[in-house]
């Protein structure tokens, strides 16, 4: 049960399924928002620290630069074909298509964290620097998305660029991830040891509780998703499969180890639901939040957590 679909029976995933089932059955189970936010901050700090400590151990390598470059390129380029597919097949207007495309170029921290858990327990731990790649991939897609919107639609106001860039780069999740990564780098294995019980030993258990909440959130959104058509729902499954495959291929081609290539696939496949929606609400108010949150959170996220991660992992294993 160590690999493949056996993963679906690990408590981490089962708690996600429990949350989703409770929401579909219209149970009043709910996790206070402050707790959910607290758990998500914990996960970011923990994954950042872990990555930093690992890089402190392994040192800077050529792999790292390759992975960073690959991540940046993927984040910038994925929105382009996504935009076209959303306009043609998805029948969205230019603003909505651009906003959704930005989400798919960016990444989801929780999908990554869950993927790392699965890879770790399958004996394929990705390299620590993948956390830095994650942080690098969060924001470029936003800028690409806004450029697409301005091209495709008239009447998209010239936003105060500086303000938006500031808000995006200093988004809380980016800062916490990067900051914790640097702290891990400075502290190293010895400095990390006394705080490891909280950030390492407790990690999986806390991930269970957080995914319980994410299951509730994703399923409630799917239930109330008026904005979702069958066309956009299909794209919300096709995008992760295609982007995940491309991500794995690029990773293998760039010479990453199996776990890191799988992690790059997971990053490429994942869609943001923290940094990008906030930026879009500010910069593209004409875009429909119901649409982009439904696609990324209610369809793509559950798909990746349950089927996507094993898929990209299997692909990476087969190719390397």
């Amino acid at each position: 049960m160590s690999g493949g679909l056996g993963v679906l029976l690990s408590p981490v995933i089962l708690f996600f399924v429990l949350g989703a089932s409770a929401a579909f059955a219209r149970s009043d189970l709910s996790i206070p928002e402050a707790i959910a936010k607290g758990l998500s901050l914990y996960l970011m700090a923990a994954i950042g620290l872990k990555g930093g400590v690992q890089v402190a151990e392994a040192g800077f390598t050529a792999d790292m630069a390759a992975a960073a470059a690959a991540g940046l390129v993927l984040s910038c380029l994925i929105p382009l074909p996504a935009y076209l597919a959303l306009r043609r097949f998805g029948r969205l207007n230019a603003v909505n298509a651009a906003a959704v495309a930005a989400h798919y170029g960016s990444v989801s921290v929780v999908t990554f964290v869950t993927g790392v858990e699965v890879l770790d327990s399958g004996g394929l731990p990705p390299a620590g620097y993948m956390v830095a790649v994650l942080a690098l991939m969060e924001t470029p897609a936003i800028i690409v998305g806004l450029m697409l919107a301005r091209r495709g639609a008239t009447g998209v106001e010239a936003q105060p660029r500086g303000a938006l860039l500031h808000e995006t780069l200093l988004n809380g999740s980016v800062v916490l991830l990067t900051g914790s990564f640097v702290i891990g780098l400075i502290a190293g294995k010895d400095g990390y040891a006394p705080i490891a019980p909280v950030f390492d030993t407790a990690f999986r258990g806390i991930l269970c509780l957080f995914l319980l909440d994410m299951g509730l959130v994703a399923a409630r959104r799917l239930r109330d998703a008026r904005a979702l058509t069958w066309r956009t729902a299909i794209l919300a499954v096709v995008f992760p499969v295609v982007n995940g495959t491309v991500g794995v291929l690029v990773g293998v081609w760039a010479g990453l180890d199996t776990g890191s290539a799988a992690a790059l696939g997971i990053l490429a496949a994942s869609a943001s639901y923290i940094a990008v929606p906030a930026a879009m609400r500010l910069a593209l108010p004409q875009a429909d939040p119901g649409l982009y949150l439904s696609m990324s959170l209610a369809v793509t996220f559950p798909f990746n957590i349950t089927l996507g991660i094993p898929l990209y992992t299997a692909l990476a294993t087969a190719l390397s």
């Binding site: 928002e33 402050a34 959910a36 936010k37 998500s40 106001e157 808000e167 909440d213 994410m214 959130v217 109330d224 008026r226 904005a227 639901y273 923290i274 929606p277 906030a278 879009m280 609400r281 500010l282 108010p285 004409q286 429909d288 939040p289 119901g290 949150l293 959170l297």
Partner: protein
Amino acid sequence: MTDTVSRRKIEVLVDAPLIPRVTAAAERAGVSGYTLLPALGGSGRGGRWSDDQVTGVESKVMFMTVASAEKAAALIDALAPVLESHGLLLINTAVEVVRGGKF
């Protein structure tokens, strides 16, 4: 009897990421006193929402200020673009306030 004066209470339901822009507009309109109140959820033409601190994007906050009729009008004008672009709800009520140290 304590002395009271007539004022306008302006309430605006604001998307959380927009708050800095609304308070900045208020300060430009000469409104330096305001209070932010939390909201839990709601429903409108854009569908249902509920406070969601993880993604953060759907949270809304009630911006509230008490001001003289002229300042209130200036504030509404200053907010007009963002009311328009984001379709925000603005409520304007006639109230009385006690002249404590405040007004």
